[in-house]
Symmetry: C2
Subunit: 194 residues, 2 copies
């Protein structure tokens, strides 16, 4: 194990740093996350951060990675029971709640709003795990075209972004998830075959 006393201290600091970064993002937006402000909130000086983070963009990568780890953990929390449709509805609900609960996640994971930020290969691999899961469930429902996947992602993205922008503490949009998903699964069929 990597949990010597010294490694423990390091991990705790790391988590403090990430928590501070998410706090700033929730307060003032993802773009407002600066190394100075993170250090201020952690209670250390800004140069000390460079023992944990190699640059500002690297900090965003750590946040990206952490968010996907948390999201995948949530998906694994409940065993995959029921029909494929039920599983897809559950997965969608978890994802939607995850981003609405903390809007910077939507910005960081699903939009491209931080100039210069690209997830590292390792972090991006986590993102692909979510895509694969979703695609597998859609496939099991007979929805195997790119069009089906795209329409599905648009639906989740749309509910999430409207919910966050216009009713951040309610469920005015997110409550339509299941209804809307049912309709699209039942009736959407793209004109052209890819």
């Amino acid at each position: 194990m990597t949990s010597s006393a010294v490694a423990d201290r390091r991990n705790r600091r790391n988590e403090q740093i990430l928590a501070a970064a998410w706090d700033i993002a929730a307060d003032q937006g993802l773009g407002a996350v600066s190394l100075h402000e993170v250090a201020r909130r952690v209670g250390i000086k800004q140069p000390s951060l460079y023992g944990y983070v190699s640059s500002r963009l690297d900090l965003f990568d750590m946040m990206f990675r952490q968010a996907y780890e948390q999201l995948l953990d949530r998906l694994d929390a409940a065993p995959p029971t029921g029909t494929a449709r039920e599983q897809l509805l559950r997965l969608s609900r978890v994802v939607l709640d995850f981003v609405v609960e903390n809007p910077p996640r939507q910005q960081l994971l699903f939009q491209r709003t931080i100039p210069g930020f690209e997830p590292s290969e390792a972090s991006y691999a986590l993102a692909l795990r979510l895509v694969d899961r979703t695609r597998a469930l859609l496939s099991a429902l007979g929805k195997r075209t790119q069009a089906h996947v795209d329409v599905y992602t648009a639906l989740i993205a749309g509910l999430g972004s409207q919910q966050i922008a216009n009713d951040p503490d309610g469920d005015r949009w997110s409550r339509h998830l299941e209804t809307l998903l049912d309709i699209v699964l039942d009736h959407f069929d793209p004109q052209e075959k890819p």
Copy 2:
């Protein structure tokens, strides 16, 4: 008329300033729009901007206003012929193309991503004109609940944000607009009556 020679010069400068701001936003993101960079591209010094703009946030308000004026102009370009459904499809197509064509518009008009920015009352009135038009068309189709309006906006927002984030020069998402809208208009009915 307000088009004396001096007012003409002023208007031209104003348009140059706005054009430069949109250029920067397209190149580096809306958050990267700074008064220094705008001045640089216009070919004047940054303090000179204060003859046209009273602050950085005021510049965003001018952009917000200009974008809605352009969007409403486009909507008025074609006469409102056909059924309400046809009109709604046309309106939706214009709006979707408008934001996909220039992604910062989506960010500025429909998301809340610039820290501190709130449209002025006058600018927000323009935004309401679009909402009213949309609501009127939905009403004409018998869709009078808030849920219908919300689901409609989520659909447009979802297609737009996915298109911009993942296929900015293509139509992988936006091409599903009409199909998806038809499905939702035909089959969406919220469980609860507001």
